[in-house]
Amino acid sequence: MKYIDEYRDKGLIAKLADMITASVRRDYTFMEVCGGHTAAIHRFGIPYLLPENIKLISGPGCPVCVTGTDFIDTAIAYSQIDDVIITTFGDLIRVPGSESSLEKMNESGSDVRIVFSGLDALEIAKQNPQKKVIFLGIGFETTAPATAVTIKQAEKENVGNFFLLSAHKVMPPAMETIVKDGTSLDGFICPGHVAAVTGSAIFDFLPEKYNTACVVTGFEPADLLQAILMLVKQVNSNNPEVEIQYNRAVTVNGNQEARQYLNEVFEYCNARWRGFGLIEDSGLKLAGKYERFNAGSFATVEVSIHEEDRRCICPEILRGLKEPGDCPIFAKSCFPENPVGACMVSPEGACNAWYKYKVSR
């Protein structure tokens, strides 16, 4: 398949792996921030191709994984209100809240529907004018523009029964929290699809302030290996900077139109991340002009903040402090079918990827 096979070519991959092996001089720890990278790394068996002194750790870039229990509990509370339809991307329905999940609510009578985009949710609202349709907006700068488009469309068509419950987040504050909190790290494999929207410049503060190497990376095996080679070279020359490996999709300034939509529809807010707690200005909420589409505008629900299951080490995994294999319940009482922590739910979660793909499990 064109534009895929070129980046999976066995000869090219072997050559890149040899170049990495020839370049390493010490131990290196790199964090892949994006959940898409975590899934790709394990799906293509990348760790098997790397020398042992390169360690890849997963970061907080799986949207489902970092969505706090309080958000799930809030969505569950809305699902119990009469005439409410909850619309959500598929993974989120299985994430355990403090007492239930959206999947269990659906089985016991709430109307929870899986959609592939916000526009599908808007369509459901138009078809069910007597109901209130709430779309659960999750994801980073990658998916938030699509939600922004949906909101503007709802405004244009004057759909009065469509609402957003936003857990949209932005990446840089979480990455800063990781390096500030002392996770030992030589460099970031920076999220390629986030950067396609925002531009690579949003990562400039990392080498400047924290001396951390950064390479904005694509999602195929050749992309990942080339990025790792670039990171190794940056570390070796002690010259950290933001480089773009994924230059077929990413520019320094990003997608202007998508950024404009984000700026118009959303504004920054403090947001709660699973594993991190509250991070300042790391969330996106609807700007004042669009407040009437906020789920809170037709009904407010109260949920309390619960402590997460103590046996589960998702919080440490999301901050890059531990690996799924360090968790006492990994593959013992926490499985993809019956997840205890969010990292086991999503295909982009580190635990799910380890469980499904990792050879030395």
Binding site: M1, R8, D9, K10, G45, P47, E107, Y355, K358, V359
Partner: protein, 332 residues
């Protein structure tokens, strides 16, 4: 088991196996190994399968053709010659007779192609909204050469034996998905739904190397390889670049995040060949149009309690786990 039945219990993965082991086998006093068909006294083989595919019509087939081919294939992969089929229909009030006639015609045609006779049946009609248009259950019997009983249990498989499949994976699942009109694009993919008994019969009649067969339906190749490694207690290594997948199927999988290894097929079989016999089996398979794209995809390893490992097309290695979670409900 407790709680409620979820869609997950019907996906052919880990939860389905739990349901079968902990409820059905336990209560019915059935014993391992789980095979596609039951081998009864003498050489009689018996199987049954329910069909709930949504939609009823899809490129390459419909629920009727599927119901006949599926049961024929379950018998054939046990090494048996399929002979007789019984079918039950559950039909929703208001179902168009014209659609019924098309479905029944396909069943008659599929039975003729497979050389089996449909000899018994039952019809129930339920009120509107009490079932989704039509469900069909087929049961079938066949005759097994008792000397070939080992094929259904896999008891003769040894490390070094080779794995063969008869063509590209995932076409049925993608064709059904496309027919649901949930995709915002069209695909040229047709279901591979077909009776495999003649092709398998040719192989068995001309070669003694077949040690095990399983059709690659719900759960796909990934599911069957995990079942096989569990039955044997040995590991399996397969090579991704040797596994045929048609370009349009690969494309849809890339876009939607499906793995073709887990997608359902309705005309594909995994054959374990004893080492050294694989090329003879491959030649026999390729003489049949349903096996023209057959390929050797891997082998059984000596790893005790081993896993199913895939060497990826780009040279990495990873596990293929038992499928889990709800993938594509009502695919067959």
């Amino acid at each position: 088991m407790s709680g409620n039945i979820t869609l997950n219990h019907g996906e052919g993965g880990r939860r389905t196996h739990e349901l079968i082991r902990d409820v059905f086998m336990k209560k019915f006093g059935m014993v391992e190994p789980l095979t596609d068909s039951a081998i009864l006294e003498g050489s009689l083989v018996f199987t049954t399968d329910a069909y709930v595919v949504d939609p009823l019509f899809f490129p390459g087939g419909n629920i009727g053709k599927l119901a006949v081919c599926g049961t024929v294939n379950d018998l054939a992969v046990s090494g048996a010659l399929p002979e007789y089929i019984a079918c039950s229909f559950i039909i929703e009030e208001g179902f168009p007779v014209n659609d019924l006639l098309v479905i029944v015609d396909s069943m008659a045609e599929a039975a003729e192609n497979a050389g089996v006779r449909i000899v018994a049946g039952d019809t129930k009609v339920v009120g509107k909204g009490k079932c989704d248009k039509m469900f069909i259950t087929t049961s079938g019997t066949g005759m097994l050469d008792v000397a070939k009983k080992y094929i259904s249990t896999g008891e003769r498989i040894k490390p070094g034996d080779r794995l063969i499949i008869n063509g590209s994976l995932g076409n049925h699942a993608i064709a059904v998905l496309g027919a649901r009109k949930q995709l915002s694009f069209t695909t040229p993919v047709s279901s591979d739904c077909a009776p495999l008994n003649h092709m398998i019969g040719e192989v068995l009649n001309n070669c003694n190397g077949v040690l095990f067969m399983r059709d690659l339906t719900r759960g796909g190749l990934g599911g069957v390889l995990n079942e096989l490694s569990e039955i044997m207690g040995n590991g399996i290594v397969i090579n991704e670049s040797s596994i045929p997948v048609d370009e349009p199927v690969r494309g849809v999988c890339e876009i939607l995040g499906f793995d073709p290894l887990y997608l359902a097929n309705e005309g594909k079989v995994l054959i374990v060949s004893s080492k050294g016999m694989e090329n003879q089996i491959l030649d026999l398979l390729r003489q049949d149009p349903l096996g023209k794209d057959s390929a050797i995809i891997g082998e059984v390893t000596a790893d005790k309690g081993g896993k199913v490992i895939i060497e990826t097309a780009s040279g990495g290695r990873r596990i293929i786990d038992m499928p889990s979670g709800v993938q594509l409900p009502r695919i067959c």
